[in-house]
C-alpha cells in the first residue's frame, strides 16, 4: 500500500504542474510540440546513463535542447511545422530506443519508460518532484501576466515591452521539467495526455484563464487518484489507467456542459 501512496503523491505533484502548464499548451496550440519534447525524453535517459548524470537533470537538459532546435527550425519556414514536429518526435524516440539498447552495461525496462512504472517511484523521485513542482508553480505565478500576454499575442506583448523571447524559453524549460516529472508516472508516450486532457475538460467550466488552470489541476488530481485505484483493483498499468480516467472526465465535462447549455437555453 505504501507504494500506492507514493505514487499518489507523485501524481498529485505532477498535477500541480501539469494543470497550469497544460492549460498554456492548449491555449498556445502546442500539443504536438509538447509531444515531441516528451518523445525526446528517452534520448535524455540514454545520455544521462552514458554520461552518468542524474536522469531527471538529463531529461530536462535534453528536452530544452530539442526545444531550442525545434524553435530555430520552425523559424526557417522550409518544412511545415507539423511535418517537422512529427519528424523530430519519432526520430528522437527511435534514437532513444537504439542508443538505449547499445548501452550494454545497464539493463533497462524500456516498457517502464514508455508507459510509466509506478513501482519505480522512490523517495528521491518524490523529493525531486516536490522541488520541481514548487519551482514551476513559483515561476508560473510570478510570470503569469507575461506568459498570458505572450499567449494572447506575442506581437502585442513584445511592443508593450514584455520579454517575449525570454518567456518563450522559460516556457520550454518549465515544460521540460514537467516532462521529466511525468516520465516515471505515465511514460513518454502518454505525457501529453496528462497535459492537455484535464485542461480541455476544464475549459467549459472556466470564465477566466486562472480559473481554467485551477480546475484543470483539480481534475487532474482526481484522475490520478481514480486511475491509481482502478489500476490497483484491476491490476492494470497505472499510466494508461490515469490517462483513460482523464479522457472519461473530458467526455463527462463535454456532456455535462451540453446539458447545462440546453437547460439554460429555455
Amino acid at each position: 500500500m505504501i507504494w500506492l501512496l507514493d505514487a499518489l503523491l507523485a501524481g498529485w505533484l505532477l498535477s500541480l504542474m501539469s494543470g497550469p502548464l497544460g492549460s498554456f499548451i492548449v491555449w498556445r496550440r502546442m500539443a504536438y510540440f509538447g509531444d515531441t519534447l516528451a518523445h525526446s525524453a528517452l534520448l535524455g535517459i540514454t545520455l544521462g546513463l552514458l554520461l552518468d548524470v542524474n536522469l531527471n537533470v538529463a531529461i530536462v537538459l535534453c528536452a530544452v535542447f530539442i526545444a531550442l532546435v525545434l524553435a530555430s527550425l520552425q523559424r526557417q519556414h522550409i518544412i511545415p511545422s507539423d511535418t517537422l514536429l512529427g519528424l523530430m518526435a519519432h526520430t528522437t524516440l527511435a534514437a532513444g530506443l537504439v542508443t538505449l539498447s547499445l548501452v550494454d552495461n545497464v539493463r533497462i525496462d524500456i516498457n517502464g519508460y514508455l508507459f510509466g512504472d509506478l513501482l519505480a517511484v522512490d523517495r528521491e523521485d518524490l523529493i525531486m518532484m516536490a522541488i520541481g513542482a514548487a519551482v514551476v508553480l513559483f515561476i508560473i505565478a510570478r510570470m503569469w501576466k507575461g506568459l498570458l500576454a505572450a499567449t494572447v499575442s506575442e506581437e502585442l506583448a513584445q511592443v508593450e515591452g514584455y520579454p517575449v523571447a525570454k518567456l518563450r524559453l522559460l516556457f520550454m524549460v518549465l515544460l521540460a521539467v514537467v516532462i521529466a516529472g511525468a516520465m516515471k508516472l505515465v511514460g513518454v508516450l502518454l505525457i501529453t495526455a496528462m497535459l492537455i486532457i484535464p485542461a480541455a475538460a476544464a475549459r467549459p467550466f472556466s470564465q477566466g484563464p486562472k480559473q481554467m488552470a485551477a480546475i484543470a489541476t483539480v481534475l487532474s488530481m482526481f484522475a490520478v487518484a481514480l486511475g491509481l485505484i482502478f489500476s490497483y483493483e484491476f491490476d492494470t498499468p497505472a499510466g494508461p489507467s490515469i490517462v483513460l480516467t482523464c479522457a472519461f472526465m473530458f467526455l463527462m465535462s463535454q456532456l455535462g456542459h451540453k446539458t447545462f447549455l440546453a437547460k439554460h437555453a429555455d
Binding site: 492548449v26 491555449w27 496550440r29 519556414h77 501576466k145 498570458l148 500576454a149 499567449t151 494572447v152 499575442s153 506581437e155 502585442l156 506583448a157 513584445q158 511592443v159 508593450e160 515591452g161 514584455y162 485542461a199 480541455a200 475549459r203 472556466s206 470564465q207 477566466g208 484563464p209 480559473q211 481554467m212
Partner: protein, 259 residues
C-alpha cells in the same frame, strides 16, 4: 521641426529571397498623423512591423527615441476558443497603467458594458475598439494602428477617425496608421505615404491624389468629395515619381519636415 519619435533610414526587408520593402525612409513626429496607403501586398503591415521592431530588416536603420512608449493596434487578433478571456482580462494585460485609466479609456471608447464579455464573443467593431483601448492603456507617445476602421460602417469609420484625431491632440502623440485606400483617409491626416514595395509618393492627401504614381496604382476614379481636406501644397514632385526608377530623388519628405 521637432524631435522625431521614430525613424527608418534606407530600410530594406526581404523574405525567402523576395524583396518586400526597399529603401524606406520614414520619420514620425509627435502630434502628426501619417497614413500609409497602397494596394494589397504593398507591404503596409510589414512596414508597420518594421517600425515596431517586430520584423527584422535586412539593411537600414531603425532609430527610436529612448524609452518611447508605443501603443500598437494589430490588424487581426485570433484568440483560440480554448482560452477563456473576458475583455477586462485582456485589457489588464497591458503594462503599467493606473486602475482609473482603464475605466477612463473604456468610457471613452464606449466598451464599459462589454467588460465581462468573452473576447471571442465581441463583434468586429467591438474588437477594434477593444484593441484600440489596449493600445491606449500604455499612454503611448506613438500610436501604430493597422487598419483601425476595418469592418466598420461608414458612420463608424468617421467616428473612429475623429476619435483618433482627438486622442492625438490630447496625448500629443504621433500616429502611424494603415488605411486600405485614400478615399477613406481621414481629413486630419498630415501626411499620406503611398506604398508599393517602396515609397511611391508622399505628401498631403490632396497632393498625393494628383500624383501620377498614385493614379497609376489606384486609377483616376477618386471621388474627391470624400477627402474634404484641402491643403496648400508646399513642394512639388519634379521627378514625376515614376515607379521603376531608383528613388534617390524621393527626398521631398525631409524637405517637408524641415520647413
Amino acid at each position: 521641426m521637432n524631435d522625431y519619435l521614430l525613424q527608418l533610414r534606407n530600410a530594406t526587408l526581404s523574405r525567402q529571397g523576395r524583396t518586400l520593402l526597399s529603401d524606406i525612409n520614414l520619420e514620425v513626429n509627435a502630434g502628426e498623423i501619417i497614413t500609409l496607403i497602397g494596394p494589397n501586398g504593398a507591404g503596409k503591415s510589414t512596414l508597420l512591423k518594421m517600425a515596431l521592431g517586430l520584423a527584422v530588416m535586412d539593411s537600414g536603420q531603425r532609430i527610436v527615441r529612448p524609452d518611447l512608449r508605443i501603443g500598437y493596434m494589430p490588424q487581426h487578433m485570433h484568440l483560440p476558443e480554448t482560452l477563456p478571456l473576458m475583455l477586462k482580462d485582456f485589457l489588464a494585460l497591458a503594462k503599467g497603467f493606473k486602475p482609473n485609466e482603464l475605466e477612463n479609456v473604456c468610457k471613452r471608447l464606449g466598451i464599459t458594458s462589454l467588460l465581462t464579455r468573452p473576447m471571442q464573443r465581441l463583434s468586429g467593431g467591438e474588437l477594434q475598439r477593444a484593441l484600440l483601448a489596449r493600445a491606449l492603456l500604455s499612454s503611448p507617445q506613438l500610436l501604430v494602428l493597422d487598419e483601425p476602421v476595418q469592418g466598420l460602417d461608414v458612420a463608424g469609420q468617421s467616428e473612429l477617425y475623429e476619435l483618433i484625431a482627438q486622442l492625438k491632440d490630447e496625448l500629443n502623440c504621433g500616429v502611424l496608421m494603415v488605411s486600405h485606400d485614400l478615399h477613406l483617409v481621414m481629413a486630419a491626416t498630415d501626411r499620406v505615404i503611398c506604398l508599393n514595395g517602396h515609397i511611391c509618393c508622399e505628401g498631403h492627401p490632396q497632393a498625393v491624389q494628383q500624383d501620377p504614381s498614385y493614379l497609376e496604382l489606384f486609377g483616376q476614379s477618386v471621388p474627391a468629395h470624400l477627402v474634404p481636406y484641402t491643403h496648400h501644397h508646399d513642394h512639388t514632385h519634379e521627378d514625376g515619381c515614376d515607379h521603376s526608377h531608383s528613388h534617390h530623388g524621393h527626398d521631398h519628405k525631409t524637405e517637408g519636415d524641415q520647413k
